[in-house]
């Protein structure tokens, strides 16, 4: 019998199901879904594997999940660990644990309070990080706000506005580095180039920084700064060459 209403899929314990169109999918325990899935909400409180692509209004992962296809969601929340093998498209992305994306991500807003790893490019209007990230390609964002609590890496960064500040968790450590300003590569941003309109950096190592208004704060190690309008450099920063263009 075929009905028009969409069904819920619940896996409590250990189970597997095939893909398809569902109203909601909830996995409490360990679940395996084979095939593409289209649903209103996807929630995993345990361990889930989707062998295929996932399309959902909301996808929340509180345990561990891996998706071998692509992910399309309005809301994508990771509280545990998630791995996605293909592209991710989302409106609101929050990573409070760890997410590993093997291709690109494009999301209106991305908030990271943990660690985000992206193999290729990352596109976002607002990119906020309190933690660590690795982007193998380009970070292209409207607004970038980074509080460094771990290693942050990107091949290149292009944006309208970027603000990178040291996280303020380790007070004693801060005092020591304020007396002996040296580059601390563990909680730092390392990238080849940063290009944007408004730039403020701390603890950043980059080959090139280009922008309209550039301020290089303490703990930075920059080879070349090119600025259009204003430029400021704090005492604890090392800049090899600076040019007004």
């Amino acid at each position: 019998m075929e009905t028009q209403t969409k069904k819920d899929l619940k896996i409590n314990g250990d189970g597997s199901a095939s893909g398809g169109v569902y109203e909601g999918i909830k996995i409490n325990g360990s679940g395996r879904i084979t095939g593409d899935v289209d649903c209103e909400y996807f929630k995993c409180n345990g361990d889930a594997k989707v062998i295929g692509s996932l399309t959902a209004q909301s996808a929340k992962i509180n345990g561990s999940a891996s998706i071998t296809g692509s992910l399309k969601a309005d809301e994508f929340k990771v509280m545990g660990f998630t791995k996605v093998s293909e592209n991710v498209e989302s409106k609101d992305t929050k990573v409070s644990g760890q997410a590993e994306l093997e291709k690109n991500i494009s999301s209106d807003s991305i908030t990271v309070n943990g660690e985000l790893k992206i193999k290729n490019d990352c596109n976002a209007e607002v990119f906020t990080v309190n933690g660590a990230f690795t982007i193998g390609g380009m970070l292209n964002a409207g607004e970038v706000e980074i509080k460094l609590y771990g290693p942050c890496r990107a091949k290149e960064i292009g944006c309208e506005k970027i603000e990178v500040r040291k996280g303020n968790a380790f007070k004693i450590h801060n005092i020591i580095t304020s007396i002996f300003p040296s580059f601390d590569s563990k909680t730092s941003l390392i990238t080849d180039s940063i290009e944007g309109d408004e730039i403020y950096l701390e603890n950043t190592r980059a080959k090139i920084v280009r922008g309209n208004n550039v301020e290089i704060g303490p703990g930075c190690d920059i080879e070349l700064v090119e600025y259009k309008t204003t430029y400021k450099k704090s005492d604890g920063a090392a800049v090899k060459e600076e040019k007004k263009v």
Binding site: N123, G142, G158, E160, D192, S193, G196, E198, I208, V245
Partner: protein, 207 residues
């Protein structure tokens, strides 16, 4: 063939735009990914763009900006057709297609009342060729049939249309861009139309 390239820095200076704007347009797909050409330079890597295409695109974006959202512009500059349907009167009144060409089209497609984007595209090309006197009506039929049969096979890929004549006999073909095509000496190319460019212009006209 060495393309004429412009570096990112030169481009920003020339057009008076900022990095932020450039990256925003890239995010919104106003500038295709493959126009960003990476080349190594003394500072590591430098980004270059195909000069002519990029300058055209940016002045287009800047001219269109007022009253249109970036998403709207993205739709217009993409080679994908837009969803439209016009009646014969609308097309005539808005000056998109001449009455002569419309009547010619209707001789071959009797009873058609509304025109979708692909119909208008074919009509527009034939209209231009007829008006310029490059082709006559019979040759118009040839192009009409060819385009209707071949164009869907390209599935939106950028392509161009050739109309050529040899010893007074007209023939036409379509070709994917970038591609190469050579003819023997006796062939005279009457018209060479870049479909992607035509689509862009047409979208502006009917928007």
């Amino acid at each position: 063939m060495e393309q004429n390239l412009i570096s990112k820095k030169e481009l920003l200076d020339l057009m008076g735009i900022s990095y932020g704007q450039l990256y925003r347009w890239k995010r919104k797909n106003l500038i295709p990914e493959d126009w960003f050409i990476k080349k190594s330079s003394f500072t590591g890597q430098e980004t270059f763009f195909p000069k002519e295409k990029m300058l055209n695109r940016i002045s287009k974006i800047m001219n269109m900006k007022e009253g249109l959202s970036l998403e709207d512009i993205a739709g217009m500059v993409s080679p994908n057709p837009v969803n439209v349907s016009f009646t014969k009167e609308e097309l005539m009144n808005r000056g998109i297609i001449s009455e002569f060409t419309l009547n010619f089209y209707l001789e071959h497609h009797k009873g058609i009342e509304t025109f979708n984007f692909d119909n208008i595209l074919v009509l527009n090309i034939i209209d231009r060729l007829l008006k310029s006197g490059d082709i006559n009506k019979d040759e118009g039929v040839l192009i009409l049939n060819t385009m209707e049969e071949i164009y869907p096979k390209f599935e939106g890929k950028p392509c161009e249309l050739f109309v050529m004549r040899k010893l007074g006999i007209t023939s036409c073909c379509m070709n994917v861009i970038p591609g190469q095509i050579y003819f023997d000496e006796g062939v005279k190319i009457i018209a060479r139309i870049n479909i992607a460019v035509t689509i862009e212009e047409l979208k502006l006209n009917i928007a």
